[in-house]
């Protein structure tokens, strides 16, 4: 909101656009496993340089066969690589929009709007970061590993999934030098009691300066409790149905606890990343 009030004095039109609407060309669009697809788009560096972990793009999915998505679809930045000139997404095929997206071929073009929203914060004195991710939450949290490496922080990634087959992004995290802990339903290791034990061990060990999570209600609740107990700050990324993605329509609000009261904040503008303790389980 800081940017918004400053606009009233500095005339907005004097500034270069900070959000882009562009047709980007598909580099690849490949299945990761039965459910997820990884999409890479060729993007100019001035766009990629504006990207931050936790931000998202609003994608204009093309019509494809019976599927005629109308609204844009929000999708977290999975990776942004100014040197290669690539912007990556990781998505789960769930309905008309993502189904149409999954039909894109190399060379096709896709209209994107972004980067949008507020990304993850990494305060200067947060040395040891812990992220806990499950399912598609991984897509949102993955670029945090990239930023952590770039800024020389230690990151532990606790990755949860139904089974080892659908555990994603392990290579990605390994490449970024993150420490990886995997838990699965198949092993019985993903239940909350065990995750709690793992995190407590991390706190007792090298210590934890910040938690990050996304995509699981139970993880959010657990981290809120541990954060309160050990006074560890944290952040979570949230989702909501969106129309504009820019803050104009007020479709995407969620309630947050702020100073004892419930306030409605826009996921697309004040989020999608929010303070861990202010967020409400859904």
């Amino acid at each position: 909101m800081g940017t918004l009030t400053s606009l009233s004095t500095v005339r907005a039109k004097a500034r270069p656009p900070s959000v882009f609407e562009r047709d980007l060309s598909v580099v690849f669009n490949e299945p990761v496993n039965g459910e997820y697809v990884r999409l890479a788009l060729a993007a100019p560096s001035h766009l990629l340089e504006r990207c931050r972990a936790g931000q998202f793009f609003h994608l204009l999915c093309p019509a494809s066969g019976e599927d005629k998505p109308y609204l844009r679809r929000p999708m977290s930045i999975y990776g942004f690589f100014p040197k290669q000139g690539e912007l990556h997404f990781l998505y789960k095929v769930t309905g008309a929009g993502t189904r149409a997206l999954s039909k894109l071929c190399t060379g096709d073009s896709l209209n994107v709007l972004g980067p949008l929203g507020v990304g993850f914060r990494i305060e200067d004195d947060w040395r040891n970061l812990v992220l806990v991710a499950r399912g598609v939450g991984l897509a949102t949290l993955a670029p945090l590993a990239l930023e952590a490496r770039n800024r020389g922080r230690h990151l532990t990634a606790i990755c949860s999934a139904r089974s080892h087959d659908v555990l994603m992004s392990l290579d990605y995290f390994a490449e970024m030098g993150a420490e990886i802990i995997t838990v699965t339903d198949a092993d019985g290791t993903s239940e909350m009691g065990n995750v709690e034990k793992i995190i407590k061990r991390l706190v007792a060990g090298r210590g934890v300066d910040a938690f990050y999570t996304c995509g699981s209600n139970r993880m959010l609740t657990l981290l809120q409790a541990l954060g309160q107990r050990y006074h560890i700050p944290g952040e979570t990324a949230l989702e909501q149905q969106m129309a504009c993605g820019l803050g104009m329509c007020h479709c995407c609000v969620r309630p947050f606890r702020k100073a004892g009261a419930l306030v409605q904040l826009r996921v697309c503008r004040e989020g999608p990343v929010f303070d861990l303790q202010e967020a409400m389980p859904w």
Binding site: K13, E21, Y70, Q241, A243, V253
Partner: protein
Amino acid sequence: MVDLSVDIAGMRLKNPVMPASGTFSEDLAELFDIECLGAHVTKTITRGRRDGNPTPRVCEVDGSMLNSIGIPSKGVADFLKKTVPFYRAYDTPLVASISGNTTEEFATLCREVTVEGVDAIEVNVSCPNIEEDGKAFAIRPSSTYAVMRELRKATHLPLWAKLTPNTGETSEVARAAEEGGADALVVANTLLAMAIDVRTRRPKLGNLMGGLSGPSLKPIALRMAYQCAKATRIPVIGCGGIATSDDVLEFLIAGATAVQVGTATFINPTAMVTIIADLERRLEVERIASVRDLIGTVADGEQKAAVVFMEAAP
């Protein structure tokens, strides 16, 4: 050089393209220079704070959308303190959209937003009138007339009445608004609709029902714009499903003096910029000197006498 400017009740707009209330905000200035627009129209505010409706507030239907935002509002104080000053940096006229659930509340707010920096007031009479049966003011000619008369007393600024498509009496409501003192008509707001998720059997909107906007609304809003232009002598601002310069031409030819673009901005945030550029090019190619030469030029010759009858007999 073609002339894109139009006149709405004494207010000159550099072009006939402006955003629809609720689909525009300061945020869009991050994408392009919003000085290029014909006017700036703000989200409807109420006097006091309001939270708005439960989520989900939006869903997609075949090629269009439903919304049930419910007019969340930070109240008039916030509007005067933050919103009006933001737009003061622009030469483009500022149109403040307001709403109230009683005539008195509505009129008070109308007085309160009559400040320097606000160039016209759009009165969203598509909101419920809780003094009667909760139906929107603009569903009936009588309640439209009554509220407009009070609003007219509350301000010297141009008053734009924003009508609802949820009525069987468009022409009558338009005349009632004119008689009540409206300087222009905005035609129209969203159309009441509904969608259900057949898997969960839950309404797709948290509020059960919501308003249809986007391409599906266009032929209905166009019909209303035509009816209003025929029924009154005040300018009509077309609104509903406009996404291209062809859509703008269609509304102007039907009788609208200007247009508002809503949902299209959600799909293509730079839609208005493209529309204005395309419009200019179209006029050049077709050698039309002024966009005003298009207004109301529909070749409705023989039919127009029978309009009322046809209204009822598609």
